[in-house]
Symmetry: C2
Subunit: 229 residues, 2 copies
């Protein structure tokens, strides 16, 4: 299936070097470096991106960039970690809000789409931990596994309370993670539809399915029926 081209260059964030108040600006400047790098990685891919270009986009020198970060690898690690933390925080908030598991799941899906269509969340999907050395990769994979666990747990709760159809929670979680993560790959800011509208259409398919009516019977797979026979 076609994936529309990567985003056109997003406008670089307003440079915090322009700010007059210098107190407590270090964290803000570091975040600006990370966000600018995340945008670059998302547009061009990790391998093709350079810290020279990050510096250029921010209007600062390369040594200035190195004052805030150690290496391109460290930047990617921080970008992906930040994206995963946003996702974890969202699912924890959704879970803490109470209510039925299916409503939590839908709220979690909405938050997921909102995050993977922004810089750090998009970086989780488009770049991810693959280019990093083993130790960093492992840390980020552990965070992903924890997130995955939260979603599976919601599905398990939904099945137990009768709001979610009886299914394999692992495969169901992979199914919607795939559908929602894909949005982070093809979404272009300013490309027509807003993330919240995309999320609603996609979630509707995942919650209600594509079949028009329950009486539109779908033939079972030949292999599966042979196995069942």
């Amino acid at each position: 299936m076609a994936e529309p081209r990567r985003s056109p260059p997003a406008p670089a964030p307003a440079s915090p070097w322009a700010a007059r108040d210098r107190a407590g600006q270090r964290a803000l400047k570091r975040e600006a470096v990370l966000r600018c790098a995340a945008q670059l990685f998302n547009e061009k891919g990790f391998a093709a991106s350079t810290l020279d270009e990050v510096a250029e986009r921010l209007g600062v020198s390369k040594p200035t960039v190195y004052y805030y970060v150690d290496s391109k690898d460290q930047i990617l690690f921080e970008c992906v970690r930040t994206g995963l933390e946003l996702l974890q925080q969202a699912i924890r908030e959704v879970d803490g809000a109470g209510g039925r598991a299916i409503d939590k799941l839908v709220a979690g899906m909405r938050a997921y789409v909102a995050i993977v269509t922004q810089d750090f969340g998009m970086c989780v999907i488009r770049v991810g931990e693959d280019p990093l050395p083993p130790a960093s990769r492992q840390k980020l994979r552990r965070m992903k596994a924890a997130l995955d666990h939260e979603f599976r747990e919601l599905i398990r709760q939904g099945i137990a309370e009768g709001s979610i159809v009886d299914c394999d929670p692992k495969l169901a979680a992979f199914t919607f993670a795939g559908a929602l993560s894909w949005i982070g790959r093809w979404y272009r800011p300013g490309g027509g539809l807003e993330p919240a509208e995309i999320a609603e259409q996609c979630i509707r398919v995942l919650i209600d399915g594509l079949r028009a009516h329950p009486d539109v019977a779908v033939p079972p797979a030949r292999a599966a029926s042979r196995r069942a026979a």
Copy 2:
């Protein structure tokens, strides 16, 4: 969401250099080079893969590999092209078989999963055209767009015939393309579930949804209801 680690090294295909009958073996040998490279790219990523390793796995010299292919870029192009051709052929067969659009769509989804869990199809998903020069990238993107068009067309037909729920065909196609393509990313041969079983569970969610009963109401998004008001 966690994506399980990449596959462990798949067994290299039986080397056709061992074959005694030499007539007409060139195409077979070239295909063996491509398939071996696809496996390597899928396991290690494109950047980390070398033609030395392809030669080593096939038990031949590097010049022998160069007798069949010109470059690593050409190999990737051929692998992705082959994967996309398999997908195109499958959807054409499904479409030619006749019947209702929803049944064609389900048959097309099954074929999609079968292909993206094998070497060339997996290469479309895990590596894709991104590392290639613009001209090759464009050719492959055109093939993807044509494939995408076929799936959207099936959804349009299904909506018209009343077997598929009224939805945005583009977003519905992206939703299931994401869910099914994701399988090509996390699937590990020998990892427990067979592709056909994974496909059935995933397709069931996409066709029937996660909601246990139509009367399990799901609250609309706050932003969406505000916009509708």
